[in-house]
């Protein structure tokens, strides 16, 4: 998991307040802090690194545009993730006709030849299985498994009830256990 729920910091509150007044430098710092998490969420949602970077940039631009209406009732990270998830879904809708999930490039690995091939294949199958989930379930799974958000945080981020988070997560996991059954036996 790339980042756990970060504790509130005075620095971040200060950065948000300054960015809300139009300070681009302060916003740049916020981008630097949340870049990795946002790219990860978008990448896990759409499965393409280039698309993920473009979508992450788009998410930050939308965040900048809507920053004056942001109220720090919920963590800034969750707010940005919400935007990122929506941007990823939009990007997926646009790219659906052009991107074939099975045809996505294999990601390079630095392991030894045999282990690398085996590891790469397994990792790739996992990635494809996640991408084959319905977007709503995928978003919940990504936020839980890769970003480590709690159910409450996922509910706030996606704007859905806690019960929905639980049922979508159960559905996603059951689907993944079915599709990844051959790989689970050897883990």
């Amino acid at each position: 998991m790339s980042s756990r729920s970060a504790p509130p910091t005075e620095t971040e509150i200060d950065l948000i307040t300054r960015a809300q007044r139009g300070d681009r430098g302060a916003f740049g710092e916020l981008v630097r802090c949340h870049r990795e998490g946002v790219i990860n969420v978008v990448y896990r949602m759409c499965g393409d690194a280039n698309l993920a970077e473009d979508a992450a940039q788009e998410a930050f631009i939308r965040a900048w545009q809507h920053l004056p209406s942001y109220r720090p009732r919920s963590p800034f990270r969750n707010w940005v993730y919400r935007i990122a998830t929506n941007v990823a879904l939009d990007a997926l809708r646009r790219e659906r006709e052009t991107v074939d999930i099975d045809a996505l490039p294999l990601v390079a690995s630095g392991q030894g030849p045999e282990a690398a091939v085996e590891g790469m294949e397994r990792g790739e199958r996992v990635r494809q299985a996640v991408l084959a989930l319905p977007p709503a379930s995928r978003a919940v799974l990504v936020l839980r498994e890769y970003e480590g958000l709690s159910y409450r945080e996922i509910a706030d981020t996606l704007g859905v009830p806690m019960g929905t988070v639980m049922s979508r997560l159960n559905y996603a996991r059951n689907r993944l256990r079915e599709s990844l059954a051959p790989y689970m036996e050897v883990v």
Binding site: T9, P68, P75, L169, Y183
Partner: protein
């Protein structure tokens, strides 16, 4: 053996269960092989999911931040409707004071006109109020012709204005409209105070 707890195993695995439900799941797991296997399978899946590689070949952080910076509009912009709403909200007290002042002016003028009507000087007063123009002269001619009618209108209006209680309808109307405006102002003040507190509280909340 108690009923299987399959539906709660995911939440248990994620550390989201508490209290009675947590104890129930733990007690069941201690005696149910099937649910233990199910939980093990969830743990295996979590491990397998981490094998999916993260995005590689990404733009370095500094360059990414710079690229975002270049694409940012000049300043954060609020939607026009939101800005309009905010300006309207801030102008509410001014509007209320204006409305109150306008009503008071109407009541004062109405009182003067009715006093003039009572004293029988309706036509003269209206003549004094009207500007000098051909239309005004034409109206004054009409008023002088129908002086009796005007007095009748004044008498009926006066009866209405002074009826309806010891202080008259005019006073009651003034009182009610002032009270409504006062109430609206107090509601605005309370909402403003609540919003201010909410914002102040929000600034110290988790970010």
């Amino acid at each position: 053996m108690t009923e299987h707890v399959t539906a709660w195993l995911g939440a248990y695995h994620d550390g989201e269960l508490q209290g009675r439900r947590l104890r129930q799941v733990e007690a069941h797991l201690a005696q149910c092989e099937t649910c233990r296997a199910e939980l093990e399978s969830l743990r295996a899946l979590a491990g397998l999911l981490q094998e999916s590689p993260a995005a590689e070949g990404l733009t370095p952080p500094e360059r990414f931040v710079a690229q975002v910076g270049l694409r940012l509009p000049r300043r954060p912009t609020r939607p026009a409707w939101q800005r309009g709403l905010e300006i309207g909200w801030r102008l509410v007290p001014l509007g209320l004071v204006g409305a109150w002042a306008f009503l008071q002016a109407v009541f004062v003028v109405a009182g003067l006109v009715l006093l003039a009507l009572r004293l029988g000087a309706g036509g003269d007063l209206i003549a004094g109020l009207l500007p000098a123009s051909p239309q005004a002269f034409w109206l004054l001619d009409l008023l002088s012709l129908s002086d009796a009618g005007l007095r009748d209108v004044g008498r009926v209006t006066l009866e209405l204005w002074e009826g309806g209680g010891p202080l008259g309808w005019g006073f009651a109307l003034n009182l009610v409209s002032s009270a409504v405006i006062g109430l609206l102002y107090c509601s605005w003040l309370a909402t403003w105070w609540a919003r201010r507190r909410h914002r102040a509280g929000g600034q110290t909340h988790t970010v």
